[in-house]
């Protein structure tokens, strides 16, 4: 009697085993990583979590498919009168076949959740040295105005290594600003301001597309994000601000700031 109830407790405790790795991960990794996220940019962090998630589901899928295929091959009907022989389950087994798989699923869910939580915070905590750019979407155009008052359509030039935060609003319908290289999407809408930030870490160009359906030319609504080195960037700013009458530039930047 005593021994049996002890056994039950041990078994109950074992049910919680799958939860341990994820909880351990949550407690041990979180504070350290939040400080610097291993020096990752959000999009590198994204790639890492993506690969882990892919590995996770691939393993699950392959194991599950192999078991199913094995059953499907092993248990083909032989004689005409053959019937299935699924063993009938005791009540404990019935409950066990619910609780144990659920704990395993929950363990995997928590494991992924913790990683997703970390990554989420990485995306949603803007570095203090980020520079602001105002982005207005309209059918079918991206308009960027940066702190220097440089106002350009479908082209944003940024400095390598300085994080950029986009404050976004739409003039008409919904749009969604997705930067292919930086793996970040956020909707633009009238009446609300939304934001996203990214770290331009490599020189060169990448594409920004619209990811919320906005009518006839939805697929024609895209721009370029151009990353320049510090020296090139300064030269670019000097050139642009010289050619643009500075009053309008300042006025535009001021309106941008007002609306934010």
């Amino acid at each position: 009697m005593k021994f049996k109830s002890l056994m039950h407790k041990v078994m109950a405790a074992m049910l919680a085993l799958p939860l341990i790795p994820s909880l351990a991960h949550a407690f041990q990794a979180a504070p350290a990583r939040r400080a610097d996220y291993n020096g990752w940019t959000p999009h590198e962090h994204w790639d890492a979590v993506w690969h882990e998630t892919m590995l996770d589901i691939t393993v699950l899928g392959v194991v599950f498919a192999i078991i199913t295929i094995a059953f499907m091959v092993m248990y083909v009907r032989k004689g005409h009168g053959e019937r299935g022989k699924l063993p009938s389950l005791t009540n404990q087994a019935k409950i066990g076949w619910v609780v144990i798989p659920c704990m395993l699923f929950l363990g995997d869910d928590l494991f992924l959740y913790v990683k997703g939580f970390d990554l989420h915070n990485h995306y949603r905590e803007v570095p203090t040295n980020a520079v602001e750019v105002k982005l207005t979407g309209s059918m079918w155009n991206w308009n960027y105005v940066d702190v220097n008052g440089i106002d350009s359509d479908n082209e944003l030039v940024v400095k390598q290594g300085t994080p950029v935060v986009l404050r976004m609003v739409s003039d008409d319908v919904l749009h969604s600003h997705y930067m292919t290289r930086y793996r970040v999407t956020e909707d633009l809408m009238p009446g609300r301001i939304t934001w996203q930030w990214f770290m331009p870490d490599q020189l060169g160009e990448s594409v920004a597309t619209c990811r919320e359906y906005c009518g006839t030319q939805h697929s024609g609504m895209y721009g370029k994000i151009i990353v320049k080195s510090a020296a090139d960037y300064d030269a670019y700013v000097a050139e642009q601000t010289a050619s643009v009458p500075s009053v309008t530039g300042v006025a535009k930047a001021a309106t941008a700031a007002d609306q934010i």
């Binding site: 994204w46 993506w50 998630t53 892919m54 996770d56 589901i57 691939t58 699950l60 899928g61 599950f64 199913t68 059953f71 499907m72 248990y75 009907r77 053959e82 019937r83 299935g84 699924l86 389950l89 019935k94 076949w97 619910v98 798989p101 659920c102 699923f105 995997d108 869910d109 992924l112 959740y113 990683k115 997703g116 939580f117 970390d118 990554l119 989420h120 995306y123 919904l174 997705y178 292919t180 793996r183 999407t185 956020e186 909707d187 809408m189 009238p190 009446g191 609300r192 996203q196 594409v207 619209c210 990811r211 359906y213 906005c214 009518g215 006839t216 030319q217 939805h218 697929s219 024609g220």
Partner: protein, 560 residues
Amino acid sequence: MSGFMGHEPDGKPGQPKTVKEWVFTLDHKVIGVWYLIGSIASFVVAGLAATAMRIELGSVGPDITDNGDIYNLWLTMHGAVMILGFQIPALLGFVANWAVPIMVGGKDMAFPRVNAMSVWLLWSGILLALLNLVIPDSYNGMWTGYPPYSLTDAVGNTALYSSVVIILGMSSVFGAVNLACTVAFMRCKGMGWFQMPLTVWCVFTANVIQLIFVPVLAASVLLLSMDKYLGFGFYNPEVGGDVLLYQNLFWFYSHPAVYVILLPFMGILFEIFAVSARNDVFNYKATVWATIAFIPVSSDVWVHHAYVAGLPDWLRLLQTFTTLLISLPFGLLMLSLTGTMYRGAIRYTGPMWWAVGAFFMLIIGALTGIPNALSAIDYGISDSYVIMSHFHYVMAVSGGMAIFAGVFFWFPKLTGRMCNSFMTKLTAAGFFIGMNIVMGPLYFAGMEGMPRRYMDYQMYADNATIVSAQHWSTIGIYITFVSALLMIVVWLHGAIAGEKATSANPWGSQSLEFTATAIIPGQGNFPTPVSVPEGWHPYNFIDNPKPEFEPHPGHTGGHH
């Protein structure tokens, strides 16, 4: 006791004979067939739209049109008609109407007249939706109808969209009340709740979900037309409205709606797996509870469709977690499908080929859903082909194959004839392979950034992965197209010239629609009211007691 239709159930082959009888029928089986015809017709229309889109997307630049409005019209029609015209009517119309009442041993639906009204509403809705292809201001705002775009003139006729959704919604609500009452009150003597086939359970739960959530959808699209035509401002920020209100309302229905599709098609898979393996469903009771668990679980995850819509961060993180929790009941359903194979005696009939295809597509579809649940992962793949590929695997292809499996499974009961078995298997294989070639590569295109709802992708013209994925995907559609076409030919051939069914139970099922009816179930379904003895179970293939019939009113005391 008089029948609902004013005549006694006689169990005689009861197909209507005149056109008038066909049209004004109150018989749930004929109504079920009407649903099926509407559903397959919708599949054809929406499938043609899909084919056109795939051809257009085959290479960078215009292929068959350079007009964005035309592509957007195809896409709008494809999405809306596939979901509202094909899958929901096939599952909650055909399966719910044709199969469920017989499976629970009832002689009809609880309210045959309401039932007829539901199918009439469905047909009105489908015809109204098809009008969109010919009217000058056709609606192109996608099946989601997000404002403010759906409030502009550019979107076309928003009223048409609202009306179609509301009419189909009414059809669904009437159907849901009717089905819930049928399952609750029309079960034959002896059939307890835990003796119902899983198809019945799944359709029942799906209808409960419909009852709770469809009104929210109807309200949300009604407000859309009130905004646009009557100058209200629910979604208009200029007068203090909020565009996000719509997205919350819409997905509050439309996420649960995916279970309205998922549950019944898994119900079909359970039926076919158990019958083909002549095996008990693994852990039947737990499976039933997992099905029921979808009602609460599905109600609190809608934000995963709006992770990038500017909603508060805490809400995104909360619903990331609730979304992951779906894996619990869903995992149990998958486990019990596989468990049903364990030590089974599997025979690979035509319907089983389709069901196995659906099952493997479901594995891929379900697992590719897990990354999407994480809000932060969604920042990289939101509204991309990753999502498109995922939901085609999990809903479109898996659901479609399961529906077709169901049609092949019940075909002998509908027509009294068998479909050609070899051709059934061939089309299943063709459809499965074709759809994998269509949707597999697109997952990788999505990882490279390819967005949804694009008629062209000139900005990615130098991305080899995207270009070749699009190319292969278009090759796949030809295989799919031919297979789907052949499948319809197999049905038509089967119905007209197929081999006559020699048994009322060609697959060896234990469920009443096979064991207690004529080859084609007649008026009132059973010769006399049926009952199931104690210990009867739809998945007991070993020593199941036979269903019993009340003695015919004409014979007195004729016990044997």
